[in-house]
């Protein structure tokens, strides 16, 4: 008998990074690593579940910048080269480790990367999005959208059109890549501000997700806590993160990923092996990087590490899935007697956590769905399926919040990144002005105005402020933000002074090529409704 529901949600996002002028670019590896360790392993597990006729329901956001990158010919060609190099390194590793304890792990990696390539070229037909579309069309995967470039909406909202553009372009991007309009949205950084629901509603969004306090501080207080959604005054449903289920996976101390049997993230041959041996597989300028070949398990809290045992680690995912199922059932039992309906536990995670940081994460998810199927006391569903069962929900006004550190906007607005907002706001105001002024622009002007819109949207990505804040890739993030500001105002200058710098335009249009469907009029007040 079903006692409650589980809504697992994976937020898949990377900022748009494309550097066609370089054969190798470090930050492009963010995408390649995520494809190899997160997206393909997840899709492989979903395929396996389907083949084993195990029922599952998963909600995944595929953000517009990620979808655009996964659909980009240049980046996908680079990805094929990346995968080819991994397999080549895997073959070398078999020889190098032949008489050592690491040999079995080397074999495991060669097999892992070979199977990744086969899946990529076979089932996916060299297009990662094919996998997502396949399950989306079968209604076992609910794909939701996000802000067009993951803009932090509360801090962009001083210009409402900037928020509208983030949502409208996101919806259009979703239609382009998935052939249907999104029903739900993962708000960038789960960041909500008063009245955002009206804008979401106007673009057909039916639900979004907040961190727990965004719902618990709603007005009036939701009677079911986080165990049922609320509906905003503009009739958009809001689901909230349930912290117990989050803790089991996100916690660095108590979370499953820290189990000593699992693969150690840090020890990687990119750092461990002789430079001469590894130089062709690290960054061309000699900077050592993670290669993905990691031979040790976490082992313990000291630097002493033992050889990774993939079979033991996979076995551990079964135990952890059983434990997660047990705890979720306990939690559901605790709250169900207090409710007039079956409770729902919403568990949102970064998709990149599963496979990159927690290498065995995709297998855990697979086993979790198997556990659910075995016991039949919890049912995995999507937010839409819940809303179909329970169309009437308590009306309340959600509280402004985010899922970042301290729960509000501190991560995206502090001394490290506050300088960006003056420029982002000015760019948005300027964009509105020119979108109205050149509403009937000629072909040439349209090209310039569309590229201005791209530069603005790319500058708005919350990733840059985040990375400045965490002091990771801060230099790259600062450079990217400045580049987009510079490009934007250079384009304004071309428009205003009626000239066209062909070389400049061609270079930035090739690099910052996101959203080929983009129409600058998204920033016009004429199209605000």
């Amino acid at each position: 008998m079903i006692k409650g529901y589980w809504i697992p949600i994976l937020h898949s996002h990377l900022p748009f990074v494309k550097h066609p002028q370089h054969e190798n670019f470090l930050e492009e590896r963010w995408l390649f690593e995520a494809i190899t360790e997160c997206y393909i392993p997840l899709l492989q597990r979903l395929k396996k579940l389907e083949e084993e006729e195990i029922e599952f329901a998963l909600t995944v956001s595929v953000t517009p910048p990620l979808a655009e990158m996964l659909d980009d010919e240049h980046l996908m060609q680079k990805y094929e080269n990346y995968l080819k190099n991994l397999i080549e390194l895997g073959e070398k590793e078999l020889i190098r480790t032949k008489n050592s304890d690491s040999y079995n792990v080397a074999k495991f990696y060669l097999d892992f990367f070979t199977r990744t390539k086969e899946f990529f070229e076979g089932f996916l037909d060299r297009k990662i999005l094919n996998g997502y579309r396949y399950f989306y069309d079968k209604n076992v995967l609910e794909i939701i959208t996000c802000g067009a470039t993951h803009g932090f909406l509360p801090l962009l909202s001083v210009n409402e059109q900037a928020v509208r553009a983030q949502i409208k372009v996101a919806v259009e991007s979703h239609k382009k890549h998935f052939n249907k309009a999104p029903k739900g949205i993962w708000l960038p950084e789960c960041a909500y501000y008063d009245s955002l629901d009206a804008i979401l509603k106007s673009y057909g969004i039916e639900f979004f997700i907040l961190d727990a306090h965004g719902l618990l501080y709603a007005t009036p207080t939701p009677k079911n806590g986080v165990y049922a959604p609320i509906v905003t005054p503009n009739k958009v449903a809001v689901f909230a993160r349930e912290h117990k289920s989050s803790k089991q996976i996100w916690s660095s101390k108590e979370g499953y990923p820290g189990d000593f049997s699992y693969r150690d993230f840090y020890r990687d041959i990119g750092y461990d092996l002789d430079f001469e041996y590894i130089k062709d597989y690290i960054n061309p300028d000699g900077i050592r990087i993670f290669t993905g070949f990691k031979y040790y398990k976490i082992t313990g809290k000291s630097d002493y590490k033992e050889i990774y045992d993939p079979s033991a680690a996979l076995q551990k995912t079964i135990e952890h899935a059983q434990n997660f199922h047990f705890n979720t059932e306990v939690q559901i039992n605790k709250v169900c007697s207090m409710m007039d309906r079956l409770p729902v536990v919403v568990s949102p995670y970064d998709a990149e956590l599963f496979g990159h940081w927690w290498f065995e994460g995709p297998e855990f998810l697979y086993n979790m769905f198997k556990e659910i199927s075995k016991h039949k006391v919890i049912k995995s569903i999507t937010p839409l399926q819940y809303l179909n069962m329970y169309p009437q929900n308590q009306e309340a006004v959600p509280h402004p919040s985010s899922w970042g550190d301290k729960g509000y906007f501190d991560v995206w607005l502090n001394h490290s990144n506050d300088w960006i907002y003056r420029h982002l706001h000015e760019m948005a105001d300027t964009m509105c002005y020119y979108a109205d002024k050149y509403y009937n622009a000629n072909e040439h002007q349209t090209k310039v105005l569309n590229q201005m819109t791209r530069e603005l949207l790319l500058a708005q990505s919350s990733d840059w402020a985040f990375l400045m804040s965490t002091q990771t890739a801060a230099e790259y993030s600062t450079a990217r933000t400045k580049e987009h500001i510079y490009n934007f105002f250079k384009l304004v200058d071309m428009l205003e002074n009626n000239y066209f710098n062909e070389k400049f335009f061609t270079d930035i249009a090739k690099k910052n090529s996101i959203f080929d469907f983009l129409d600058f009029r998204v920033y016009s007040n004429h199209s605000s409704q």
Partner: protein, 164 residues
């Protein structure tokens, strides 16, 4: 029977912590030596208030020479006064600056707890101890404090992006 309090308590009772602690930093390569100079100012009067958390907000401004000239003020010798106000125009706090382009972090008590539902800033020119109104910022909503038991150290930093 109303179980709201119990359900809220259940919703609050655990602490989440990042799994992304202690991640090595990525070394960054510079893309190219090309520099991208950006505007230092926009020559537009602007006063913008942004919320950060229940206890602080951020304000930035630019006052043009043209505006100062209207009041016969030398741009190099300016005294600006800023007042943080609630929806009923009750003053919550103030600060001053001699910069025509600047920003400031405003610390204030939790607006929501203090009964302030919204906040905004007004900018005045200080003319011989007489305040001349210049402009008002946008209005922001006040936020509530979050219970520490719920939010303590809740952070995840993507390892893909070199998080630590």
């Amino acid at each position: 029977m109303n179980f709201t309090d119990d359900l809220i308590a259940q919703s609050l009772s655990h602490i989440c912590k990042s799994s992304g602690e202690n991640i090595k930093n990525f070394k960054i390569i510079k893309e190219s030596p090309i520099s991208h100079p950006i505007p230092q100012k926009y020559n537009k009067d602007k006063l913008v208030l942004l919320p950060i958390n229940p206890n602080s907000s951020f304000v930035y401004w630019e006052i043009t020479d043209k505006t100062l000239e209207k009041f016969g003020i030398d741009p190099k010798n300016v005294q600006l006064s800023f007042k943080l106000l609630d929806a009923a125009n009750h003053e919550i706090g103030e600060f001053s600056s001699s910069l025509t382009i600047g920003n400031y972090y405003i610390n204030h008590k939790s607006g929501h707890k203090s009964g302030h539902k919204s906040l905004h800033v007004k900018l005045f020119l200080n003319l011989c101890n007489k305040l001349e109104y210049i402009s008002s910022s946008n209005i922001i909503g006040a936020q509530q404090n979050t219970p520490k038991s719920m939010r303590d150290d809740l952070i995840y930093t993507s390892t893909l992006l070199g998080g630590k």
